[in-house]
Amino acid sequence: MTQESQAIQHEAAHPTPGTYFKIAMVLSILTAIEVGIFYLEFLSYGIIPILVLLSGAKFILVCMYYMHLKFDDRIFSTMFVAGLITAAGVTLALMTLFSFFA
């Protein structure tokens, strides 16, 4: 594969402004749902997993499309996810040690 054809392929892989706009709409809707759900008292502790899922979805959308990890080399994703997993692990371990879940 020549360099040019790679570059062209890459160009095609980049989403259009329309896609970016649609993703922004999804992000807004997800945020609206988050805030809305928050006021539904009958969900009680049920809102925790829902909110985690919703904000996780927003996080992943921004990473994949706006930060174009979906179209980039796996090395970048690996470096970022390694930091993310270590940070999550450290946080959960410290919370456990300080009896957060007890």
């Binding site: 090395i75 470096m79 390694a82 930091g83 270590t86 692990g89 450290v90 410290l94 040690l97 300080f98």
Partner: protein, 615 residues
């Protein structure tokens, strides 16, 4: 510092320019490596002198050579100096000098960032040590446990020097680590796949990732400590519901990966020396590499074994005990592979080889006492005794320092262009080996006898005189061995025989170029066909490399080297002015702002500085 730099410059390092200015503005990885190395050795001598004073005070019971306050400053600064200003920068010196040579590159990925790392290291080290002059050095131990560090129990500026010094050193290390990650992944010569990389380069990659992920934890801890002291934010205050133990967790979350940051470069050095002088490829290359990687992974899951006696509860203690014992597995794999490398080889017992073999023996002793600490019930007896002191010195002195000295001998012909004196080198090794064991082995007995660490004197009835006396004798021998080392280095660099390009029949690419290497390292970027690339080429296994330039048919004379720049030192000076502003009387914010502005100005000027552009 200036005189040391001048001496190195005058010694005729192969470079187009010389003089102090050329060293201040240098972005050449080899020169930065030498700057790192020389500075680190100077700080090593400083830390060694502090240790020597400690040993003199403890030589006999009821001694009053040093007051208890000064003693606390000495043991704190000894540890900080050895960890952050000697062993880490010695590792950085090797990374800088060797990695581009071993992967067949002309420099690191970000030469000016590299210079910034060095200057921040030097200024941060000076900041930390200047506390001795400005009202007393940090004295709360190198891990600076809360409450000792609160503004009540450490009222002066000493702990602020600790905090800001380590913050500056942290920025330096982070910049260097990011730089080496990119250099190693992105600048390998054609054909050098990851599994063809020399083990030293592999360990450098692992260490860089450890730094990238572990340093931010320390940064956060230091920021909280700073805010606690400066702004009375109750991070570790029990009267506000805070928990002093949080500091211990944060510190060791960084501190245990830090242990591997110190030892993995040493393991890499040994993995280079042993095969060369055994005339055999490294036994179990893949296993050694993956053992290093898994040590790094496990390194994040064992931190609380430094805290077995604080009352973590049985579940946590069992979990951390098990994960700590697990680390013995990859470490053992490495030790057995090194022995497999020596086994059946035709050994050439030159000085570097002696140090490498000494490393295996001493590090194994330290590793074994480490497994003893992993058993929490046994650790409860050893916590805060001299048994711990013995353990860390077997792994950090017997391990890291012995390997690093071996590495300096091994690559001395390459970076100086001269041969060292073999006889003096062997005397150096045997004295160091003897002195090391005389000093630190008796500490096992002292610890099991119950002698606590960090006491400035002890009663004659305790029965600790004999082994303390032996340890102090040993430290004299150690000191002598270092004087011999310095003598060998200086005289050999000035008057040693000129070194050939490849005096040891080396295996890796740095031996394929002249000693010392030209500024551009490789005339032609080599093509790698095998692990032990240079052996393969010398044994005629491959046809000679075709010139590969920057990818687009470069002309013979168009080797582009990065230009010198003084912006890195300007940015470092700005940051250090800001740090002094913050330290002075717990915060002179005008000075701090001026320093910050200088730094920001430097960053902008740096960004717009025209760099050597091939187009």
């Amino acid at each position: 510092m200036a005189s040391a730099v001048g001496a190195v410059g005058a010694a005729g390092h192969a470079s187009t320019e010389s003089g102090v200015w050329s060293w201040i503005t240098t972005v050449d990885h080899k020169r930065i490596g030498i700057l790192y190395g020389v500075s680190a050795i100077l700080f090593f001598l400083l830390g060694g002198s502090e240790a020597f004073l400690i040993r003199m005070q403890l030589a006999s019971a009821d001694a009053d050579l040093i007051s208890s306050g000064v003693f606390s400053q000495l043991f704190t600064m000894h540890a900080l100096t050895m960890v952050f200003l000697a062993i880490m920068p010695l590792g950085a010196a090797f990374f800088n000098f060797l990695i581009p040579l071993q992967i067949g590159a002309r420099d690191v990925a970000f030469p000016r960032l590299n210079a910034l790392s060095y200057w921040l290291f030097l200024f941060g080290a000076i900041l930390l040590n200047s506390s001795f002059v400005f009202g007393g050095a940090p004295d709360a131990g190198w891990f600076a446990y809360a409450n000792l560090t609160s503004s009540t129990y450490s009222p002066g500026d000493s702990m602020d020097y600790f905090t800001l010094g380590l913050l500056v050193l942290g920025i330096s290390s982070l910049a260097a680590a990011l730089n080496f990650v990119v250099t190693i992944l992105n600048m390998r010569a054609p054909g050098m796949t990851l599994m063809r990389m020399p083990v030293f380069t592999w360990m450098a990659l692992v260490v860089s990732f450890l730094l990238v992920f572990a340093l931010p934890i320390l940064t956060v801890g230091l920021i909280e400590l700073l805010f606690w002291r400066f702004f009375d934010m109750p991070f570790f205050s029990a009267e506000f519901g805070g928990d002093p133990l949080l500091w211990q967790h944060i510190f060791w979350l960084f501190g245990h990966p830090e242990v591997y940051i110190l030892i993995l470069p040493a393991m890499g050095i040994v993995s280079e020396i042993l095969p060369t002088f055994s005339r055999k490829p490294l036994f179990g290359y893949t296993a050694v590499v993956f053992a290093g990687v898994s040590i790094a992974f496990l390194g994040f899951a064992v931190w609380a074994h430094h805290m077995f006696t604080v009352g973590l509860g049985p579940v946590a203690i069992a979990a951390f005990s098990a994960s700590t014992m697990l680390i013995a597995v990859p470490t053992g794999i490495k030790v057995f592979n090194w022995m497999g490398t020596i086994w059946g080889g035709s050994l050439d017992l030159r000085t570097p080889m002696l140090f490498a073999i000494g490393f295996i023996a001493l590090f194994t002793i330290g590793g074994l006492s480490g497994v003893m600490h992993a058993a929490a019930s046994s650790d409860a007896q050893q916590q805060d005794t001299y048994f711990i002191v013995a353990h860390i010195h077997y792994v950090l002195f017997g391990g890291a320092i012995v390997a690093v000295i071996g590495g300096i001998y091994y690559w001395f012909p390459k970076f100086s262009g001269h041969m060292y004196n073999e006889t003096v080198g062997k005397i150096n090794f045997w004295l160091m080996f003897l002195g090391m064991n005389l000093t630190f082995f008796p500490m096992h007995f002292l610890g099991l006898d119950g002698m606590p660490r960090r006491i400035y004197t002890y009663d004659a009835n305790m029965g600790w005189d004999l082994w303390n006396g032996v340890a102090t004798m040993g430290s004299l021998v150690l000191g002598l061995s270092f004087l011999i080392f310095i003598y060998n280095m200086v005289t050999s660099w000035l008057n040693g025989e000129p070194a050939e390009a490849d005096p040891w029949d080396g295996r890796t690419l740095e031996w394929s170029i002249a000693s010392p290497p030209p500024e551009y390292n490789f005339e032609e970027i080599p093509i790698v066909y095998d692990r032990d690339a240079w052996w393969a080429e010398k044994r005629g296994k491959v046809q000679h490399g075709v010139p590969v330039g920057g990818g687009s048919g470069e002309e013979e004379h168009s080797i582009h080297m990065p230009q010198p720049s003084y912006w890195p030192i300007v940015v470092s000076i700005g940051l250090i002015i800001a740090s002094y502003g913050l330290v002075y009387n717990s915060g002179n914010f005008i000075v701090a702002t001026i320093g910050l502005l200088v730094g920001i100005f430097g960053v902008y000027a740096w960004s717009f500085e025209p760099v050597n552009d091939p187009e």
